[in-house]
Symmetry: C2
């Protein structure tokens, strides 16, 4: 008799966690990493882990792990980890991150309910500061856990409010003793909402995530010369605002439309100085967010941008300053795990859509140290990071069910085998 996933506690926990940090009707909830509101979320999560009689451990960066021990000591050495994060952006939905963590608890609950000790240790992780709103970079907890950033550097991060991350962690009582990386997963699985429109547009209820796009963030400053809008002939101008605008147009028209058309380019932030109606802008500062699932394409887009800026600077008489803010190479998830997800979905009568994640996720960091994969469920209208973020409860159920089936499939493999 197969294990059974009980949907109602999962939905109830999503609702209860979503009520912590609530901002009022229609305004979502705000649990920025390591704030009092997020501590309340952590305390609730730990309480639910204890209800399931899990072993709760917290590492030096405040990552929380709830373990259902394996039937054997050998099985404890090959932990199968699920998880995501419970911190949020401002005015967030209730699903981003939380769904993956609480669905993991639902899988553990299914084992508890059946009275079965799993063949491999079954762990649910909630990683610190995935959103990166208060402290940079985002996906910090999993990045540090996977060895991509020193724990001391992360603890020394200064937040947008001037706070030091390590101080806040200690204040909240979540500065744990376990070294980051103390549990090396045999595999890592992350269930998440899509946060984009692709599944809904395709009419498919489940996403099989091929990988995560690479991401390149730069801040570019163009320095020209202020001048009088009425007296400076066009040919005499060194217009930093025009330079910024030409770059935005170039990114859209030459980068994102170039074959194979997988590159995304966004200029989300732009400001001019002196920002006066009748003065030619002396300085323009803007950000460039480039993403592509293929490292070669991403690097080519960066190189084309560099070349464009160099030409532009020469023609307009500008100087260019570039600051790299974030650079993550694309990640391709583990082929074996992806095949298992495909099989589990098909066994439930669903043909999943293979897609690339546009957003960053903890699984892309965990992929550095363990075979990893992700499952997506649709976001209604593609909306996320917004109080209106939503997923059909039947899709939430399907995602958790698929997660359970993949876990069962993995646990059926002999110890020592690869996933």
């Amino acid at each position: 008799m197969p294990l059974s996933l009980d949907l109602s506690p999962l939905l109830a926990q999503l609702e209860a966690l979503g009520a912590i940090g609530a901002e009022g009707p229609g305004r979502g909830r705000t649990r920025l990493a390591l704030t009092d509101a997020e501590r309340a979320g952590r305390d609730q999560l730990v309480a639910w882990m204890r209800e399931l009689d899990l072993i709760v451990e917290v590492d030096q960066l405040g990552n929380i792990f709830g373990s259902l021990p394996a039937a054997t000591a050998e099985g404890d050495r090959e932990p199968l980890m699920m998880g995501s994060h419970i911190d949020t952006v401002r005015h967030a939905g209730a699903l981003d991150g939380c769904y993956g963590v609480l669905a993991g608890l639902a899988v553990q609950r299914a084992y508890r309910a059946a009275g079965i000790a799993p063949a491999r240790r079954l762990v649910v992780a909630a990683f610190t500061n995935e959103e990166g709103v208060r402290y940079q970079p985002d996906m910090m907890g999993s990045l540090v856990y996977a060895g991509g950033l020193a724990v001391d550097d992360a603890l020394a991060s200064i937040g947008t409010d001037g706070s030091r991350l390590g101080d806040e962690l200690a204040r909240l009582g979540y500065a744990g003793e376990a070294p980051c990386g103390f549990l090396k997963p045999w595999a890592f699985l992350e269930l998440h909402i899509e946060q984009g429109p692709v599944l809904e547009a395709a009419g498919v209820r489940l996403g099989l995530v091929r990988g995560v796009q690479g991401i390149s963030w730069q801040r570019i400053t163009l320095q020209g010369e202020a001048n009088h809008a009425g007296t400076a002939p066009m040919a005499f101008r060194h217009d930093a605002g025009y330079g910024a605008a030409a770059t935005v147009a170039f990114l859209r028209e030459q980068i994102t439309k170039a074959a194979p058309g997988t590159t995304l380019a966004t200029v989300g932030s732009l400001s001019l100085e002196p920002d006066v109606i009748n003065v030619v802008p002396e300085r323009a500062t803007f950000t460039v967010d480039l993403r592509d699932p293929d490292e070669g394409q991403l690097a080519a887009a960066e190189a084309k941008l560099d070349h464009f800026l160099e030409t532009l600077a020469g023609e307009e008489g500008l100087t260019v300053h570039k600051a790299r803010l974030v650079r993550f190479a694309p990640v391709v998830f583990h082929a074996g795990l992806r095949k298992r997800i495909q099989g589990a979905a098909e066994a439930l009568g669903v043909a999943p859509l293979e897609l690339t994640s546009g957003a960053g996720h903890d699984a892309q960091m965990m992929a550095r140290i363990a075979p990893s994969a992700m499952i997506f469920v649709p976001s209604i209208q593609g909306i996320s990071h917004n109080p209106e973020e939503a997923t059909d409860p039947e899709d939430l159920a399907l995602g958790a069910e698929v997660l359970l089936r993949v876990v069962e499939d993995c646990l059926a493999l002999p110890l020592g085998a690869a996933p």
Copy 2:
């Protein structure tokens, strides 16, 4: 024996007036319209007018007039007016406006020194709020004087600091009783620094101003849809920031480069919302400053911009809101006065360069009610609205000398004749 222009009191007064509102070494002076610092400038100007035993009158908008009466009552009915303004931008130079006012006093002083009562009343005007920094629109005093704006509307203007113009005028003691327009000039002459690079680049010491460019100021708001930079496919985006950038590029590449190439286009101010690195901008607000010496060209540029925005809005899925801030048609100065300036310059051995003013000036408003003309002297490196604004003293002397010769020429015309 010709009248003689005494340069030293003119230079001394430029220096003394330039010291009022001084901001410290290298930081220029700030006498925004109707502030305490500008009152100190007004008080000094009035004191100098009284030293010359002029009749001082102040109108309802605080425009100041100092008159040297004519030899006859008939001559008093055909006043020849000179002038400009003494308010400044922030961290201004000492010449913009002040040079035209104080050179007018120098011309009156020449008549006083020679003991000659002029054939026509000789008036020097200092118009209120030419710069338009604190209260909109700029050139307000001359605009109201010429009947282009109701005095009550001007008095009701609310400044950037929340003050009401009429209240400040009363507080400073410059709410006069003369109705705006009470002296109808027989002709108006404005001597001014060029504030641009054309004369210096041409190596010519004197500018004969053909007219003033028309000016069109709009504030444009594009409304799109915020979206996730990593998950929103390019084709799904309604990117207000891209729309703004495409408009800036269009203005440069399609408007200013179109024949005959006289149009100037500037986007000096631009802001995005929410202005976050990884969010597709939902809203872009930017200004468009268009100028052309020809009304047909200016209107054509506006129409092309309208058409571009309409097409862009359809393609990108944006809504467009346009607010007109300023619209002045181009002005061509009086042909007869221009010929007299040409003759006066040539009599002093200088061949003036005919050019169009890029900046707005009081003379363009006065041209609505009287034959008007302007004389320019070079600005070193074209710099103005800047503490480094400067003109060679020999060029300042030449400009004032030409102004005196044009005044003499005009006063030699029989009463009742056109200038």
